[in-house]
Symmetry: C2
Subunit: 432 residues, 2 copies
């Protein structure tokens, strides 16, 4: 009975899109996952490995024999192989490499030579090119010789004898124009051209801004070497925003939700360690004021409010600035304006919320002075948060660092320690 069940499942899997199989594999716990993986036809393994997340891919590759792996990935194009290469055992890659023909080998070498977040790493090599001195009629006849055009072919590229890019002929243009005209007279020659070592980020922005489906990629000699397509760009955008969300929560990388406990611990450790250090530092700031707290224990209860609200407000500022920097909306000249605005917001929030909390503190502990210290400390800490919230990402951007990384940890550290120091300091000065 188990066998019949297996046969049915195999049939179902055969009929499914590789991306759907990948989706199912992601959702299965490890044992079931490997069971289903075994039922997938071997020649489809390669395309499915491309679709699954890094964490799940690792678990599948670990379960495969080197021979199986070689068979699976041999089916792939050079650019796809390059994506998988970092996860494959060296001996598998060597076997695959020696099975490729000269052109594919060169392509694989090229694709692997580009850094991870460059256009070169995302492009594919599969495209149609024509010469500019032929008629559309000739182009149409040429295309009819293909079994099928490469995916996402919305334009074919026009090159000269040296493979230098001369322009592009969109299928749109090809289809609406008279077949007698020459390519040269209808091709687009002012279109967006990417360089293989352009950053993927800037390419993605161009795709979004100009609503592209594909774009030609050239090398240093202006020779056409590949093509970037919108599906790769969309994957890149999704991955990037995922990474940002994970990084904000202090996860080093995406996690297979069924990963062994120790893998998860490692994935989350760096962040906890950093937070431990900053929390310990904040704790020592409080420690310095133990005498004051002993005399007025209400301070202990009120101080986390000052620190917490400061942290939240600072994170709002920093998120907004980081995003604006990423979108290129902030020019250096704008800095003063931003400081003024953020400090203004902080001042209003400090007076309103700080005032409210001051009243509460005053009512709870029956002390006007304590209320005033509370309001003052909240306002100052919010101003500190605003100042640091603008400065940190602006400085990081100026020194060429990614302002999204670590900004949030830094601001929380400042507003915690700063908040405790300001509140306990003011209290020591004015209340004791």
């Amino acid at each position: 009975i188990a066998k019949q069940h297996h046969n049915e499942l195999t049939k179902k899997l055969d009929a499914m899109h590789p991306a759907d199989i990948a989706y199912i594999l992601e959702a299965l716990p490890p044992d079931d996952r490997l069971l289903v993986w075994d039922l997938v036809r071997a020649e489809r393994d390669g395309e499915i490995l491309l679709e699954v997340s890094d964490a799940v891919r690792e678990s599948l590759i670990d379960a495969m024999e080197p021979k199986e792996l070689v068979a699976a990935v041999e089916q792939l194009d050079a650019d796809e192989l390059a994506d998988l290469a970092p996860d494959l055992p060296t001996e598998v890659m060597q076997d695959v490499f020696s099975s490729l023909d000269h052109e594919e080998r060169e392509q694989l070498r090229a694709a692997m030579s580009y850094p991870e977040d460059s256009v070169g790493a995302l492009m594919d090599f599969d495209m149609v090119t024509v010469r500019e001195d032929v008629t559309l009629e000739v182009v149409l006849r040429y295309l009819r010789r293909f079994d099928e055009l490469p995916d996402h072919t919305d334009q074919i590229f026009v090159v000269d004898r040296d493979d230098k890019l001369r322009g592009a002929l969109s299928l749109n243009t090809l289809l609406v124009n008279d077949v007698e005209v020459e390519v040269a007279s209808v091709m687009q020659d002012h279109q967006l051209v990417l360089h293989a070592d352009d950053s993927a980020e800037s390419a993605a922005q161009a795709f979004e801004r100009y609503d592209l489906v594909s774009a030609p990629v050239i090398d240093h000699h202006d020779q056409l070497i590949g093509r970037l397509t919108v599906n790769e760009v969309m994957d890149f955008i999704r991955e990037q925003s995922e990474e940002e969300l994970l990084a904000q929560a202090g996860l080093r990388e995406e996690e297979d939700i069924f990963a062994p406990i120790m893998d998860s611990v490692k994935n989350r450790w760096a962040w906890l360690a950093i937070n431990l250090v900053t929390a310990f530092f904040a704790s020592r700031v409080i420690g310095a004021f133990e005498g004051s707290i002993e005399k007025l224990v209400a301070l202990a209860a009120l101080m986390p409010i000052v620190a917490g609200i400061g942290g939240n407000s600072g994170n709002q500022t920093i998120t907004m600035i980081v995003r604006a920097i990423a979108l290129g909306q902030i020019q250096p000249e704008a800095a003063r304006r931003l400081y003024r605005k953020e400090m203004g917001v902080a001042l209003i929030n400090g007076i309103v919320w700080g005032g409210l909390l001051g009243l509460l503190a005053c009512w709870l502990y029956d002390s006007w002075a304590l209320g005033m210290v509370m309001t003052g400390a909240m306002t100052l800490n919010l101003l500190l948060a605003a100042f640091v919230g603008v400065s940190v990402p602006m400085l990081m951007a100026r020194y060429g660092r990614d302002p999204a990384v670590g900004s949030s940890v830094l601001i929380t550290a400042v507003t915690d320690s700063g908040g405790f120091f300001i509140f306990l300091g003011l209290a020591t000065l004015f209340l004791l």
Copy 2:
């Protein structure tokens, strides 16, 4: 001299892509922004309004006369008009509406009737359809009568007399096949079809999963009414991930970085108010233990560490679970497994980091008992964080709420108050 300068600028703007002009407008402070906006040719205003962010769009629309606005948006397609409609003054929309022909009016009405995050709200109406009983030759001749095909036409749709969708003919198929064959024999009839009231989110997932450039959209009578294209999907994905990032920091919506201070205050207020409430509650938890703190003031310095690390760890768990739910990786059966795993991670972190901090506390305050309480409290608070970090998003998902909204506030509230309660409670029990 200013005039000459203006003329030059006008020429430059004329030569620019609307998306590039939008980009420049975003980066300019309000006064300069309106100056440049005045120089843009009036007939381009509409397409630029479509490209700018909501916040900037508002500022531009506010600066325009109703007559200018009508002239600007009349140029747009029905689906684009529908995107702008919520931001336009009612009298402008009425004028525009009465200037449309019957078909456009119906399209506009349809587009505006779909909820914001549905396929219907993102689709466009511009597409090419053919009948299945004609040859490719006829199709090619038909296409040649167009001045240009709609953007992102990678396939043309095959419909019957009643506009019911029969299949699709990709340009790829059209170009590689013999011109003599009939559409019916080469068209794809098992392709992805969207319903106008499908969620945009699920459509976006389908586009990513199957690498689509366009997909047909049908209504309840299976009639083809429009088409969703990859550029709309990409914009949707980008907006969604932006919103998620902003929401995590407690920003209600994207902010024009040059917005007036009061606008920013309002945008950030809701979140600060919620945090104030949770912080105040945590403060009252501490207040309940004031007697203990008075006797052992070291507690005041150590308690924020317990609360802080719990919050960080809980946010890691919740981010991972929310993401896995969004990707559909979590089945209800998996819950027990996840609890076990997350509690395991928490236990290890608690013993290791809690142990380390216990040693530090013991060394600082020269009290083994205090160190043990510290370790115990950290471990318990991490376990609490793990439990709540799994439960909250799972429960929210079960009751059909978006688990990404508010999860982070909730977990921080729990780990703060919980952390203070556990630590001060243990200390009161064992140390005093």
